[in-house]
């Protein structure tokens, strides 16, 4: 066992605890650039260790935050790490300890299998299917180990290093009529495949295909519904229609040129998507971001949170059948985009953050429009309260619909407003402040019942808190550089380049090849618009990322839909979908 670990008391706590457990056996500790305690365990210890961490330890790791894999076959910088072709990564989160733990399991190419953990965490179901789909690792005992993101007839496993990344690397695509027939047939929903019955004692069930083209599916999302009249007996969410291979692209783009791709992962959050990515790269590179850049980042993130929540608010009311609020919230959202246009030149996808800071300084006179907006919005929100939240019909449609408890939410990996609506006041910005959030004064709104209404109410209150944060940014914007003085800042501060040759060379390399980020691993999580968004980056010491894992909140949230809508009506499902607030690009990546 390696013991060169930093003197972090709580981390050594869990290490001591695990060392004392005979059943868990030996493990190797890995040093990573983030502060997450990372250990390698053997495959046969996996279930016992996870069981211990979830149930037996005094302060348990309740949530399966992420489950993914890395194809290690081409990785060169693997000092002191156990031999592995494919590594499974289990990322657990503890609310009690307020810390994470990362477990890694080494697998050989000849024997790519691991026991399923769906009995421990129901949310592991989709994660394991994704890992199977992307890497071809078999989870023994998994109830439905089928492709989830790729089409059912896809050949190969895309995130393997030997799978092509660009269409130009293979023969031009063609689809014959027979092949099209076969593909169409493979997409057909067969209830028996999913253990659904076609009849009950008294009635024949109707199978309704809701989506991938349906006004309330919010994107290309399909749910196969098993209906008895209008009552939902069971539901089967089908995702993957919006898959663009964002993780694979991460392995083909330089660290710098990948930033605009992150904007499009959760396309309503704009630059907020940049933040976990650049924070993770900065962690790998060891860059400290100047204060002004941090405040600019926070301000822009909160503006985008407002934009995203405003869109949610309007569509939520619309899905319950209220026609007007969406036009009002879109007018407000438009004002956010006007501000973003003023700051960055772009509206929805501003890609404004850079490794080591932001793209440019704020324009002259930037305070005025932002201050006007934060003075204008609260009155509008009060108006919407009367229009939407206090409407009795809307309350009847959403209160007590799609309820879950805090325990269920944690078991299913629900984060963000959906978790806080159950009453748990846990906001990543407060629990583990990043980018200077500890300096701001704001509250964590919570709900009580964890129903559709509470999920909306929490978001409405979050908008007021965002306005508060933006006010504080306005009042306390520090002066100073908007970019770090660091060789890996990309592009580096321009003013030095014409004076000394070192920065000129640095500038040239960073923009032509891209910055060379030191080998290592780092994962950074942020409280994004829809829940916890994390980028888990593995660098092999090159200009490209070795593995970019994007943990998105919506992926976990959609998995809970069958649980939430059983026994409800079709109209309730629409309220539930609206209240989850997902974006399909965020689910499929």
């Amino acid at each position: 066992m390696n013991t060169h670990l930093e003197a972090n008391t709580s981390v050594s706590d869990i290490m001591q605890e695990l060392s004392g457990q005979a059943a868990i056996g030996d493990f190797t500790v890995q040093q990573t650039q983030d502060d997450i305690f990372t250990l390698w365990i053997c495959r046969h210890q996996l279930l016992q260790t996870l069981q211990y961490l979830k149930y037996q330890t005094s302060s348990p790791y309740q949530m399966l935050f992420d489950l993914t894999a890395i194809d290690e076959r081409q990785r060169t910088h693997r000092q002191q790490l156990p031999d592995s072709d494919f590594t499974l990564v289990y990322h657990l989160l503890s609310f009690v300890r307020n810390e994470d733990i990362r477990l890694k399991v080494a697998l050989k190419e000849s024997d790519l299998s691991a026991p399923t953990i769906t009995n421990l965490w129901p949310s592991a179901n989709w994660y394991e299917r994704e890992v199977w789909d992307m890497f071809g690792i078999v989870f023994t005992g998994h109830p439905h180990l089928k492709r989830i993101i790729m089409p059912p007839n896809w050949q190969g496993h895309p995130l393997r290093k030997d799978h092509y990344a660009r269409a130009t690397e293979v023969e031009p695509f063609s689809l014959s009529d027979e092949q099209e027939e076969i593909e169409q047939d493979a997409l057909r929903f067969v209830p028996e495949d999913w253990g659904m019955r076609r009849h009950s004692e008294n009635s024949d069930f109707m199978f309704l295909n809701l989506g991938p083209n349906h006004p309330s599916a919010h994107g290309v999302f399909r749910i196969a519904l098993q209906l008895d009249g209008e009552e939902i007996i069971d539901a089967l969410p089908d995702i993957g229609y919006h898959h663009r291979g964002a993780e694979k692209m991460g392995e083909r783009q330089s660290w710098h040129s990948y930033i605009p791709y992150t904007d499009r992962v959760e396309y309503l959050g704009g630059s907020m998507n940049n933040l976990p990515y650049v924070l993770a790269v900065e962690k790998l590179a060891g860059i400290t971001v100047p204060e002004r850049a941090q405040v600019i980042r926070v301000m822009i993130c909160e503006l985008y949170r407002l934009a995203s929540h405003l869109l949610f608010y309007g569509t939520f009311a619309q899905d319950v059948g209220q026609m007007t609020p969406i036009f009002y919230t879109f007018i407000d959202r438009e004002k956010v985009f006007d501000i973003m246009e003023m700051i960055s030149g772009a509206r929805m996808h501003s890609s404004f953050f850079r490794i080591g800071g932001v793209a440019m300084d704020l324009p002259r006179g930037w305070e005025k429009p932002i201050r006007e907006f934060v003075d204008y919005l609260p009155a509008r929100l009060d108006h919407y309260d009367k229009l939407v939240m206090q409407n009795t019909t809307l309350k009847r449609r959403t209160q007590g619909v799609g309820m879950y408890t805090t325990e269920e939410a944690i078991d299913w990996g629900i984060t963000g407003p959906g978790l806080r609506a159950t009453g748990l006041a846990w906001d990543y910005r407060k629990a583990r402040p990043y980018s200077g959030y500890e300096n701001y004064d704001f509250d964590i709104p919570t709900g009580n019942n964890g129903d559709c209404y509470d999920r909306c109410a929490v978001r409405v209150e979050e908008m007021r808190q965002s306005v508060r944060i933006i006010r504080q940014c306005l009042d306390n914007m520090p002066t100073g550089p908007y970019k770090a003085e660091h060789p890996l800042t990309t592009p580096p501060p321009k003013d030095h380049t014409l004076h000394d040759i070192e920065t000129l060379i640095q500038h040239f390399l960073n923009v032509s090849w891209g910055p060379v980020i030191p080998a290592g691993e780092a994962s950074v999580t942020i409280e994004a618009t829809k829940g916890l968004n994390a980028y888990y980056l593995t660098s092999d010491g090159g200009t490209l990322s070795y593995r970019t894992r994007i943990r998105t909140p919506s992926f976990a949230h959609l998995q809970m839909i069958p649980q939430m809508c059983k026994g409800m009506m079709v109209a309730d499902l629409v309220s539930i979908l609206a209240s989850i607030d997902y974006v399909m690009s965020d689910v499929d990546r």
Partner: protein, 318 residues
């Protein structure tokens, strides 16, 4: 039975103006909603965008008249005509003004109720003939909703009938010379209004088409002018409901100063605008909530209204 038929000029005039008004309503609704929603609405074709109606109609007429292969062909074609015809013939009994009207007969109110009930066949048959699951659900919802709300509609207007002592719409208007029935029959008015929205399947009670749930419900498979018939049928329904509300509760053509026909049109327009405002303002209840509200709230309230009105009428005229 005492019934008089209006002159041919009357009949043709009313037919055309009713169709014209219904077509114009497309523009009125879009512009009004736009005003209430901080938007512009259609304002490009002709003055104030008025010719948008023509553009829409030309578009609908020239769209491919497509009947999907999986439908029940004859029923599919028949369904949209039913709503159009029943709503249009419903106007026959409306007393627009003294001397203006198509037919004046003693059971005018019952005739109106009968025709609105018939219009539900249009929706049910469309849902059935489309052979589409969403359309079927829409048709089922329409059947349950319309059949139930018909009951409350019938009960709600019995108070007016008691006060006026007749089913003849002209005599009901005349009976309001001393005061509109909205005062003594306020409860009846509310029930009738809600039932009228449900009967004409307008938002917020547009459950049979519920865009967010059933995509378009019963008319999902319809396109071109067949869809247009449903569309205009809906506007005819609003106009008819407003006209009947005005007749029963707001004194029909009665009013000071202006000519009777102007009064009638003015009151009916306000009624129509109120329908549009409701659509813009309210969310849609769930199907079971709508049914529960009908049978557990509207029905007892309607019966109570009936009992109280009966008791008062009896005690006054003993």
């Amino acid at each position: 039975m005492n019934s008089t038929l209006g002159s041919p000029a009357n009949i043709i005039g009313i037919l055309f103006s009713v169709i014209l008004v219904s077509a114009l309503l497309i523009w009125v609704e879009r512009r009004l909603l736009a005003v209430w929603q901080d938007r512009l609405g259609p304002n490009r074709v002709g003055p104030f965008g008025l010719m948008q109606v023509m553009a829409d109609m030309i578009k609908m007429f020239f769209k491919e008249d497509w009947i999907p292969s999986f439908t029940d062909r004859w029923v599919f074609v028949l369904a949209p005509t039913i709503v159009f015809i029943t709503m249009l013939t419903g106007f026959a009994v409306i007393p627009f003004a003294p001397g203006v009207g198509i037919i004046d007969f003693n059971f005018g109110l019952l005739y109106f109720l009968a025709l609105t009930s018939l219009s539900v066949y249009s929706i049910v048959l469309a849902g059935y003939a489309s052979n589409n699951k969403y359309a079927l659900l829409g048709g089922l919802r329409a059947a349950a909703q319309t059949v139930s709300y018909e009951v409350f509609m019938g009960i709600s207007i019995m108070g007016v009938v008691m006060l006026a002592g007749t089913f003849n719409l002209r005599e009901i208007v005349e009976a309001q010379r001393d005061g509109w029935f909205i005062g003594p029959q306020f409860l009846g008015f509310l029930i009738f209004l809600i039932a009228a929205i449900a009967e004409s399947r307008r938002a917020p009670l547009d459950l049979p088409e519920a865009e967010q749930e059933l995509v378009a419900g019963f008319h999902l498979e319809y396109s071109g002018m067949k869809f247009g018939m449903f569309f205009v049928g809906e506007y005819l329904g609003i106009t008819l409901s407003s006209a009947v509300i005005v007749t029963l509760f707001f004194g029909g053509w009665l009013g000071p100063g202006l000519p009777p026909l102007v009064w009638f049109c003015l009151k009916t327009s306000i009624g129509i605008m109120f329908f549009i405002l409701l659509r813009g303002a309210l969310p849609r209840p769930r199907y079971d909530q709508l049914m529960r509200f009908g049978w557990k709230v509207l029905l007892p309230a309607g019966l109570l209204n009936l009992l109280l009105t009966g008791a008062i009428v009896l005690s006054l005229h003993g």
